[in-house]
């Protein structure tokens, strides 16, 4: 697998060597339970506390406001269900956007089944939430707004500060799923007026199975797991110490020279966009060209379907992702691509390439060459393309 070109970093990332080295002692040497009184336990507790501080620092939060979870989806579930339940006396209206991750959307759908009223705010063609519609949706009984910091498919960065202001002004809790944004762009929970924020380790070269939830001091939330006093009694169960240590280290690495790394990624990203635009006809960039995560590229290629493109890329050793129905296991293509107004057949032909600092220009050239060849091959096989050419 050494020759693989990995451009699916929004799906997951490779654990950094420094992260792995930091974690290893906590499996076989420092294996104590952080709740135990003896020194083996307290050194594990100290390591967890260091990780908590590393993450708090990166968000401009207090370490007592950081809770470790088993991942981004758990954080999303807990934030939404935990506050919806805690604030139900105030009201049962909750708001989110049309392009959230399923960890959010399905949790909202679950609450809708149990008697909450849900508003889904539409987005424009770039995937940016319509703030005026959000403002109109607010009612006296609205208790929660949840909007992703940046979208996982098309990379669009939301006007988080404006949403935060709106929520704060109306006394509504504001949660943001920052799983994709965290470690790529600066996040300051005070500046953005965020009350809860979901993050995940494996998207930033940390291990899988570890996430975090920032909960602002004073926010009421029901415990997610009942049991011991871990995570201030709100999420019981012995923590994943090696994973948490790895998360802390990954966070510290991501935050070091963040602006410089962002600039480098943006230049790689824009080079990739430019090359695809220049080399392959009948394509469109999905998402916004400016308000976009530094590592995200998402194109639709007309007349072809995404899964066959992915399989043929895989045959050439290239790992990528698509919003086609065939990759989602349903008949509909990605809800995000439909929400930004793409017709079904164009949404089926989407390709997401997400970069990391390890990708090079040479890899980008190889990927563009491969995509160009495969798109041409698939178009020559496509009845839609045949009809298009015949009509011309």
């Amino acid at each position: 697998m050494s020759n693989i070109i990995y451009m699916d970093n929004a799906a997951t990332t490779k654990v950094a060597t420094e992260v792995l080295n930091e974690m290893l002692p906590y499996f076989t040497e420092q294996y104590g339970n952080p709740s135990s009184i003896y020194s083996l336990g307290s050194s594990a507790a100290k390591a967890v506390s260091t990780a908590r501080e590393q993450i708090a620092l990166s968000l401009n939060a207090k370490s007592t406001e950081i809770y470790f979870t088993a991942g981004g989806t758990e954080s999303d579930n807990w934030a939404i269900k935990g506050t919806a339940e805690a604030y139900q006396d105030k009201g049962k209206h909750i708001i989110t956007s049309a392009i959230e991750h399923h960890g959010i959307l399905k949790t909202f759908a679950y609450l809708a089944e149990t008697g909450y009223s849900v508003s889904y705010i539409p987005v424009d063609e770039a995937g940016i939430i319509k703030i005026d519609e959000l403002e109109k949706a607010i009612r006296p009984e609205t208790i929660l707004i949840s909007v992703c910091f940046a979208n996982n498919e098309i990379g669009t960065i939301q006007p988080i500060r404006e949403i935060g202001e709106l929520a704060r002004k109306n006394g509504i809790i504001f949660h943001s799923d920052a799983v994709q944004a965290f470690g790529q762009i600066p996040i300051d929970v005070d500046e953005y007026m965020i009350d809860m924020l979901s993050i995940s380790a494996h998207k930033i070269h940390g291990p899988k199975g570890v996430g975090g939830l920032y909960i602002r001091t004073g926010i009421k939330i029901k415990p997610f797991i009942h049991g011991g006093s871990q995570e201030r009694g709100r999420r019981a169960g012995t923590g994943n110490v090696p994973g948490i240590v790895g998360f802390g280290k990954a966070c510290a690495l991501a935050m070091a020279n963040l602006p410089e790394k962002s600039r480098k990624l943006i230049s790689l990203r824009d080079y990739l966009i430019e090359q695809i635009n220049g080399e392959i006809p009948h394509c469109r960039l999905n998402g916004d060209s400016e308000r976009r995560l530094p590592n995200n590229v998402n194109f639709s290629f007309r007349f072809i379907e995404g899964e066959s493109l992915l399989i043929m890329l895989d045959m050439k050793g290239i790992a990528a992702s698509s919003g086609s129905a065939c990759t989602s296991g349903s008949l509909d293509p990605s809800h995000v691509l439909l929400a930004i107004g793409l017709p079904h057949e164009i949404a089926h032909g989407s390709l997401r390439l997400t970069l990391s600092m390890e990708n090079t220009r040479e890899e980008i050239d190889a990927v563009v060459k491969a995509v160009k060849e495969i798109v041409l091959k698939l178009r020559n096989m496509s009845p839609l393309y045949e009809d298009y050419i015949n009509k011309k």
Partner: protein
Amino acid sequence: MYTEKVMDHISNPRNSGEIENASGVGTVGNAKCGDIMRIYLDVDENQIIRDCKFKTFGCGAAIATSSIATEMVIGKTIHDAIKVTNKAVLDALDGLPEVKVHCSLLAEEAIHAALWDYAEKNGIVIEGLKKPQTDISEHEHE
């Protein structure tokens, strides 16, 4: 996820392309669901399928089923060709993942649609052949 045979047909699709002045053409599926298959038939005076080509917009399974279906009907009479069922296509590919089985159905329907077109053009009846239900208009997707 896919068998070796499926992967082989995806990497080297057989008989993809068009047939000019085809004896019969059938198009099934729709772009909305992400699958369109078009089958071209060249049928000789003895009602034997001399050539068959396909055009497919769809996932890997859709490409593989179209590809193998063309191989399975070439050389057959039009009456035998309707016996190329989705089950036969599935078996020939050593199976498909559960969520992709509808692709093999599409291949059967595309062949039937092309045979129907041939039968209509020639004013003949092929026993057991029903009018295709999922035939889409050529321009629906634009």
